[in-house]
Amino acid sequence: MMHRKRWNIFLIMILTVLVGLAFFTNAQADYWTALPPYNVLWPLWSPALSPPDPISGVPTPLVNALTRMTILPVQPAMIWDPASPEANNGPLPWLAYNAPLAFGGGLMIWDQYYGMRPFPPDYMLDPLTGGPLPIPLPLAYSLLGPIEFEEINAYHYLLGNLVYANTYGVPLANLLTPQQFWGLPPLTVGIY
């Protein structure tokens, strides 16, 4: 009888650990999803770019592919190649914008080193055929940590928006603020 009780406690402990592990893994998983055809990563952690599906509650990207012709429903989007050969001082993400039709349309990307240019960058295209050359991704890429607001150069996001707004004459008010993008909580009274 005593033996059976111990066995039950042992089973409950194992079950608890397994449930905990499953929950922990699920909670940590899928910060990013790879979008075809180039495999660039899209942030599932951004409430503005991956709002929760009303039925499943799972963050769902606003677009299901990223090509030169993709039109973003909100902008800027943040996309990332974690092993970009172009990265200068660490792998910074690109901000992605729609070029207005008056300027030829198409998806544009901005970073501080290369400026504004059409998506995709050259290295994602086959030099012979011009076809997509999907980037290699690390194992468990979806578990890579989100890009935290505090980690990115404070000017990166705002400078991208300013450059885009000035290039195409788009009002800044039409662009996501960092607060919307990261889902930052409202400012509270500072404590000194």
Partner: protein
């Protein structure tokens, strides 16, 4: 005796060759910067966008030969350096609608007519060339990493000052154009051969 003399000659020739090689090697590595008259500011020979390779000589050649108030830059911004200053100057042309003349951008002073007042004789207004250290052309190139936000910020400042947008704004050089391709550690992918 004859053998000794022969060896001595051989050693002398070898020393001469090594010395010649050293001079040549220094000559190859030198000149990351070019001194621009009349103010003696340094122009980056290491920049593919500002000092492209002359197809005839194979040497990197500055896009301009001097920097005065009336110089017109074929591409902008130019980047020049007074080694006594902690940050470089970025140079722009005044857009035709706003007159003419070279302008400089400095993070603390904004956009102003070139040159800064300290490069002018306070009495005569004539050029007062800046003092340069020994072998200024051998000073190391600027690392790109420190300036990758400085250049786009200056470009934006210039564009907003003069209301430039669209293709005019997009035509301004980006850090990539000034520094060329870099690896993730900030080291140029291709060695600088001058």
């Amino acid at each position: 005796m004859n053998m000794l003399k022969h060896c001595r000659s051989l050693i002398l020739v070898m020393i001469f060759m090594v010395a010649l090689y050293l001079v040549f090697a220094v000559g190859i590595q030198a000149q990351y910067w070019s001194i621009m008259p009349p103010y003696n500011v340094l122009w980056p020979l290491w920049s593919p966008g500002l000092s492209p390779i002359d197809p005839l000589t194979g040497l990197t050649t500055p896009l301009v030969s001097s920097l005065t108030r009336n110089t017109v830059l074929p591409v902008q911004p130019g980047l020049v350096w007074d080694p006594c200053q902690p940050v470089p100057f970025l140079l722009y042309n005044t857009p035709p609608l706003f007159g003419s003349g070279l302008l400089y951008y400095h993070e603390a002073y904004g956009i102003n007519p070139w040159p800064p007042s300290y490069m002018l004789d306070p009495l005569t207004g004539a050029p007062a060339p800046i003092p340069l250290p020994l072998a200024p052309t051998l000073l190391s190139p600027y690392a790109s990493g420190e300036w990758e936000y400085y250049v786009p910020m200056a470009n934006l400042y210039y564009a907003l000052t003069f209301g430039l947008s669209g293709p005019e704004f997009l035509s301004l050089l980006q850090p990539f154009d000034i520094w060329g391709p870099v690896t993730r550690t900030g080291v140029p992918l291709t060695p600088i051969i001058l």
